[in-house]
Amino acid sequence: MTLPVVLGVSLAVFALGIYGVLAKRDILRIAIGGTLMLSAVTLLLVALAQALPQQGMATVQAFVLVVWAVEAVEAIVAIALFLYLARKGITDIDELRELKW
């Protein structure tokens, strides 16, 4: 009963993240969806690592820290993009049809 609960929570959060990335038109909400997906994966990894010995747990936790660095980069770039586009008056991601604005 222990792992299925964390598995269910991770799966639900991952599904919410996919919904956020695909259905939302605001850049920051898309970034939040991506963050939710990455966080769900880290939760699941740590839950599955409970069955591993200490060395395996250290490996998983080190991997989670690397994933966190990538999450931070995603948030930074999304916020910078949001501020840059807000200066130009663009708020809907559907308006971005060219590579240069």
Partner: protein, 152 residues
């Protein structure tokens, strides 16, 4: 035995995530995101990963959420037409209701001393860490370039 930490953390995770995406005002959505991170920290702590739980609070609640809030001081907060506070509360309440009737607890592995994590991170996986930090540096430089004033 009902694990109160599991109940509250799971409810915070699901309710916070739903509210983060569904809130009408994104500022409130960011508060939902903070609730999700707190719930995730609770789950990490319940599984014995205390370092990750502390890191989740410091880095994400204290860093990423604060970045979002600072961003809203420079630009108008996005507003979407429909809010889903009711859906978020329902997600959290449903989680609580389901877990209250299940004999569940968090999986507990062998406790990992921080020294072992540091040895793995800076020893065996030092290259992966350096690449991730380089990516972080590139992201920061890119953000600075995007936001530099006076650009055409």
């Amino acid at each position: 035995m009902i694990d109160a930490l599991l109940l509250v953390s799971s409810a915070l995770c699901l309710g916070g995530a739903a509210y983060a995406l569904g809130a009408r005002h994104l500022m409130r959505g960011v508060l939902g995101l903070a609730a999700f991170f707190i719930g995730a920290a609770g789950l990490f702590a319940g599984m014995g990963a205390w370092f990750l739980a502390a890191g989740q609070l410091f880095l994400f609640v204290g860093g990423v959420v604060a970045l979002f809030v600072l961003a809203f001081s420079s630009a108008p907060t996005p507003v979407q037409r429909e809010g889903t506070l009711a859906a978020a509360c329902a997600a959290g309440a449903l989680t609580l209701a389901l877990l209250a009737f299940l004999p569940v607890s968090l999986p507990q592995g062998a406790p990992l001393p921080p020294a072992a994590l540091a040895q793995a991170l800076f020893g065996e996986y030092g290259l992966a860490l350096e690449i991730a930090l380089l990516l972080l540096f590139a992201g920061i430089v890119g953000a600075q370039y995007l936001l530099a004033e006076g650009r055409a």
